[in-house]
Symmetry: C2
Subunit: 145 residues, 2 copies
């Protein structure tokens, strides 16, 4: 999807709920929409400062948190305690994560819905979303051994 389209989607969601569009927020939206590398809050902060230099870290936290509530950004907490964000594709999707270099890939994967269905049947839970990550070594790190 075109990053610009993503920005417009997010803007629509904000306006719909009467949240204000500020230059700081716009800078954060643009950064998130263009990011394909699952940035941390601090990563986003560094990029945003280039677009709107006086933006504070707290504002990045608050805006990312707001977008998370609006389901316009996907939060990924990792075992080491760090949080990373996907604003390009905010729907739940599987990840392959390199335990060495931390590179993340987001391939399309077949029917997780089937698993979700099975889980729902076995537990009686009404399921809304999920999280699926695979941990291993990326091709590059396998060679480096």
């Amino acid at each position: 999807m075109d990053p610009q389209k993503r920005v417009e989607e997010m803007l629509y969601k904000l306006k719909e709920r009467d949240f204000r569009i500020t230059p700081q927020r716009l800078a954060i939206l643009k950064t998130l929409a263009a990011s394909k590398g699952h940035p941390s809050v601090d990563d986003i902060y560094q990029e945003v400062k280039a677009l709107f230099p006086t933006t504070s870290l707290a504002t990045v936290y608050k805006t990312v948190s707001l977008l998370k509530e609006l389901n316009e950004v996907l939060e990924l907490g990792f075992p080491d305690g760090s949080n990373h964000y996907d604003g390009y594709n905010p729907a739940p999707h599987p990840h392959a994560i390199c335990i060495k270099c931390k590179k993340i890939m987001d391939p399309e994967l077949m029917n997780i819905d089937e698993l979700s269905e099975e889980m729902s049947k076995k537990t009686g839970y009404k399921i809304f979303h999920h999280r699926l990550d695979f941990f291993g070594l990326c091709p590059a790190c396998q060679q480096k051994n």
Copy 2:
């Protein structure tokens, strides 16, 4: 599996690597092996104090961390930042998590290995383990509405 068996398994792993068996560690092992409710470090700490009262929180952190490295306890970090542990079944397995009351179920689920295989083929990653959680409402919380 019998909790006592699990304690012995963990003891074996510790001895195998020349880690010492202290009363504090034994109390932590027993608590983990018997726990079916995915306790937090502090939950474990509270229980352990009943078995060996002078145990400190730091020791619980260190022992749980050690067992994690030995793959004898499964760490579950949650979106709210909290960490919970499964010492009863330390192999990766899917969870159904209630977003309201936080109740966790661990049903057997069919072939995740297939998905893992697919992921490996599509990314070239050599995959060692995974994490699969479904988020929704448990039967009780659905009724409470």
